[in-house]
């Protein structure tokens, strides 16, 4: 038994802004059928960092209406408020300030400043401007960006704590469209790089992790699966498998065969 213990996988934490996390899968809470399904899917995903949106409270609601943070309690999960729906740097900064108050001063945010509704691609000049303001205001900024390595480097220089290039458009489920750009971003970065948006199924998440991404953030791929809770578990396994494959180091690709059984001492 002691021998087995020596072979257990060493701890391999994802460290963001000085905080260590066991899970490399980050999940969103949008598009679920109800709060109970949200709770079950998040639980099955094993995620510790969970994104939420900030919106106007409904003034006519009943005081006892269930609340997202009742099923995803901030005491148990690291809540990552996003700036989804913001198309200007000003709105994104304002949303982050509201989120920080909402979460009792927690300053970890997911910055996204969108360019247009059709692509939901980031507006890069506005993203850079908002990132600078937020970093100066003491926020820990995880930033959604394009897969442009030069922009990624600039965002890191500004002081973002994680760079999160899209794999493909938000909610598209197309998987990583430009693996080589993501790879370049990873090679250049000294902060975590997470693929955010565009993952469709488990193999997409595994590919991101095999490339060397530090984590994957997804929402629609789980929430729009026929069985979201099962898919959440599949994503948890895919992210772990991809991470282990990356750490193990894959074999080289060869054009021709290389026999697995010895070619000598054949009995004929």
């Amino acid at each position: 038994m002691t021998e087995l213990a020596e072979h257990t996988t060493p701890a391999d934490p994802l460290t963001i802004a000085g905080r260590a996390f066991e899970s490399r899968l980050l999940v969103g809470t949008g598009k679920y059928r109800n709060l109970e399904q949200t709770r079950q899917a998040i639980e099955a995903s094993g995620a510790e960092i969970v994104t939420v949106a900030v919106r106007r409270s409904n003034l006519g609601q009943s005081p006892d209406e269930p609340n997202l943070l009742d099923v995803i309690p901030p005491e148990r999960y690291c809540i990552l408020p996003n700036t989804a729906g913001c198309y200007t740097a000003k709105d994104a900064v304002r949303t982050c300030r509201m989120a920080r108050e909402l979460l009792d001063g927690a300053g970890l945010v997911k910055l996204e400043v969108l360019g247009d509704e059709k692509t939901l691609h980031p507006d890069i000049p506005a993203t850079l401007e908002a990132a600078e303001t937020l970093v100066n205001d003491g926020f820990d900024v995880m930033v959604y960006t394009s897969d442009d390595p030069i922009i990624a480097r600039r965002l890191e220089q500004i002081g973002c704590v994680a760079i999160m290039p899209l794999a493909a458009p938000i909610g598209s489920g197309l998987g990583i469209q430009n693996k080589y750009n993501v790879l370049t971003i990873i090679e250049n970065a000294s902060v975590p790089v997470l693929v955010d948006a565009g993952v469709g199924t488990a193999s997409d998440a595994a590919i991101a992790m095999e490339l060397g991404c530090d984590g994957v953030l997804m929402n629609t791929a789980i929430a729009e699966a026929r069985d979201p809770v099962r898919m959440a578990g599949a994503m948890r396994d895919a992210v772990r498998a991809g991470r282990n494959a990356f750490l193990a180091g894959r074999m080289p690709r060869r054009r021709y065969a290389s026999a697995s059984s010895p070619l000598t001492d054949l009995p004929f």
């Binding site: 969103g28 809470t29 949008g30 598009k31 679920y32 949200t38 994104t51 939420v52 949106a53 900030v54 919106r55 106007r56 409270s57 003034l59 609601q61 009943s62 005081p63 006892d64 609340n67 997202l68 943070l69 809540i79 408020p81 996003n82 989804a84 304002r94 300030r97 509201m98 989120a99 920080r100 108050e101 909402l102 938000i170 948006a197 953030l217 997804m218 929402n219 629609t220």
Partner: protein, 68 residues
């Protein structure tokens, strides 16, 4: 004296002055985890009770919902 507040983009009339805490209770939101912006600036939760609202004040009251 009646006065008006702009809350989440809607205008509402009140017959007497009230604090932010009174407002939150009247709206049935006191049990919730909220953030409030008063005239564009964050109002810390600890200041709800001592902040009296004035005619024409603009408030944004927000909470966390599902999102990616």
């Amino acid at each position: 004296m009646a006065f008006r507040l702009h809350i989440n983009g809607e205008e509402q009339s009140f017959d007497r002055s009230l604090s932010v805490l009174d407002l939150v209770e009247r709206l049935g939101l006191h049990k919730r985890r909220l953030a409030i912006e008063l005239n564009g600036d964050i109002l810390p939760r600890a200041e709800y009770a001592q902040t009296t609202l004035a005619d024409g004040d603009r408030l944004e009251i927000v909470h966390a919902i599902g999102g990616g």
